[in-house]
C-alpha cells in the first residue's frame, strides 16, 4: 500500500515539475509583438547549380570542395545568386533570396546551447514549400539543401552563418 502511494506521489511530482517547466519556458519567451530587435549575426545564402559542365562563375574553392564531398556525382558548382544578410530580425520572418526561383524563409530562435543559432526554415520554390526544417547552424558549418533537378544538374541551396 505504501509503495503504491509513493508511486502516485512521485508521478504527481514529476508531472507538476514538467508543467511548471513549460510555464516558465513560456514566460521567458520572445518579447512583445512589434519589437524589432536584431541579432548580432550574419547569414549568407546562395543558389548553386551543381553539374558536370564547365562554368565561368564557380563558387569559392572551399565551398566547392565541401559541395563536392556532399554531392559526389557532380564536379562543378556554379554560383547563380547569393544573398548576404547583416541584420537578422529576431521574431521576424526573414528571407534569403538569391533568386526568385528558390528562396529561404527563416526565423531565428536565438543562440543555441553550445554555439550557433536555432533556426526554423522553409525552402520555397515559387509558392510551394519544398521542405521545412528545424536546425541548429554554426559558423563554418554550412547547410546544403539539395533542391530540384534542372537541365543536366541540380539546384542546391546553401545557408551559412558567418561571424
Amino acid at each position: 500500500m505504501k509503495g503504491r502511494r509513493h508511486i502516485i506521489f512521485s508521478l504527481a511530482g514529476m508531472l507538476l515539475l514538467g508543467v511548471f517547466t513549460v510555464a516558465n519556458a513560456q514566460k521567458s519567451g520572445p518579447g512583445p509583438d512589434g519589437e524589432k530587435s536584431t541579432l548580432d549575426t550574419k547569414f549568407w545564402g546562395a543558389l548553386v547549380y551543381a553539374s558536370n559542365a564547365g562554368t565561368d562563375k564557380p563558387v569559392k574553392a572551399g565551398l566547392s570542395s565541401r559541395l563536392g564531398k556532399a554531392f559526389k556525382k557532380f564536379k562543378t558548382f556554379e554560383l547563380l545568386g547569393q544573398h548576404t544578410q547583416d541584420k537578422v530580425f529576431r521574431d521576424y520572418v526573414n528571407w534569403i533570396v538569391p533568386s526568385d526561383e528558390l528562396n529561404l524563409e527563416f526565423e531565428s530562435k536565438g543562440p543555441a546551447e553550445g554555439g550557433g543559432m536555432k533556426v526554423l526554415l522553409k525552402l520555397w520554390q515559387k509558392k510551394k514549400v519544398l521542405v521545412k526544417s528545424d536546425v541548429v547552424i554554426k559558423p563554418g558549418k554550412p547547410l546544403f539543401i539539395a533542391g530540384p533537378q534542372w537541365r543536366d544538374g541540380r539546384l542546391i541551396f546553401v545557408l551559412e552563418l558567418r561571424e
Partner: protein
C-alpha cells in the same frame, strides 16, 4: 497487476461496467479509506494539469507533429494486421493505466521543452525535417563529417523545365516589411532587385526588377 489494482485503474478511467462495478463496490465496502485517498490524489493531479496546461504549447511544426502521430497510428494498425500483437489483452493492461499516460505526457513535455537545446559535438545539426508534399521525401538530413556541412537531400521533386532560366542576384540588403515577412531586397549599389509580398498563407510573391532599371 492484481484484480484489485485493475478495478481501481478501470474506476479511475471511468471504464467500469455492470459486473465490474459491483465488484468495485464490494471492494469499496471492504477498503473505503484507500479508495477515497486514491480518488482525492487523482483529482488533485487532474486539477493541477487542467489549471496549468490551459496555455497552448504549439509544437514547432504542427503539421509535422500531426503527420508523425498519423504515421505511428498507421504503423500500429499494420502491426495488428500482421498478427504480431498477441491477442491476450492482459499484455496491454498497462496501456489503460493513468500512470502510463502520465509518464507519456511528461515525456512529451520534456521533449517539447528540451528539443531545442540538444547539443551535437559535430556542430550544425538537424532537429527535424519535413516535406509537406507527399510525393517528396527527405532522403537524408544529417551532418556530413567529410563535407563538414549539414546536408538535406530531397527526392521526388518536380524537375524545373529546361527552358526556364534560373537567374540569381547578389543581394546585400533586406528591408523587411513587417514581422510576417515580405520586404525589399537590394543589390550592392542599393539598387532594388526584388520586391516581395506574402499572401495570407505566407507564400511569397516576388517581383523581380530588371537589372537595368
Amino acid at each position: 497487476m492484481n484484480r484489485k489494482e485493475e478495478l481501481i485503474t478501470r474506476w479511475i478511467d471511468g471504464e467500469l461496467n455492470g459486473a465490474t462495478q459491483e465488484e468495485f463496490d464490494a471492494l469499496m465496502a471492504n477498503d473505503p479509506e484507500f479508495c477515497a485517498r486514491i480518488r482525492t490524489e487523482t483529482e488533485g493531479i487532474r486539477r493541477a494539469l487542467r489549471s496549468e496546461m490551459s496555455a497552448e504549447v504549439e509544437p514547432p511544426y504542427p503539421d509535422f507533429f500531426n503527420s508523425q502521430i498519423q504515421k505511428r497510428i498507421r504503423q500500429q494498425d499494420h502491426t495488428v494486421v500482421s498478427g504480431h500483437v498477441r491477442s491476450s489483452t492482459s499484455m496491454l493492461w498497462w496501456l489503460r493505466s493513468p500512470f502510463t499516460w502520465g509518464a507519456a505526457a511528461l515525456f512529451m513535455v520534456l521533449l517539447l521543452t528540451r528539443n531545442d537545446d540538444r547539443v551535437d559535438s559535430n556542430g550544425s545539426y538537424v532537429v527535424s525535417t519535413y516535406a509537406p508534399d507527399p510525393k517528396v521525401s527527405v532522403e537524408r538530413a544529417e551532418y556530413d563529417d567529410e563535407a563538414q556541412a549539414t546536408v538535406i537531400m530531397l527526392t521526388g521533386l518536380e524537375p524545373i523545365p529546361d527552358d526556364v532560366e534560373v537567374r540569381g542576384r547578389d543581394i546585400t540588403a533586406y528591408e523587411p516589411a513587417g514581422p510576417r515577412g515580405g520586404g525589399r531586397f537590394y543589390t550592392g549599389d542599393t539598387q532594388l532587385a526584388y520586391i516581395m509580398e506574402t499572401d495570407i498563407d505566407g507564400a511569397p510573391e516576388i517581383l523581380a526588377r530588371s537589372e537595368d532599371s
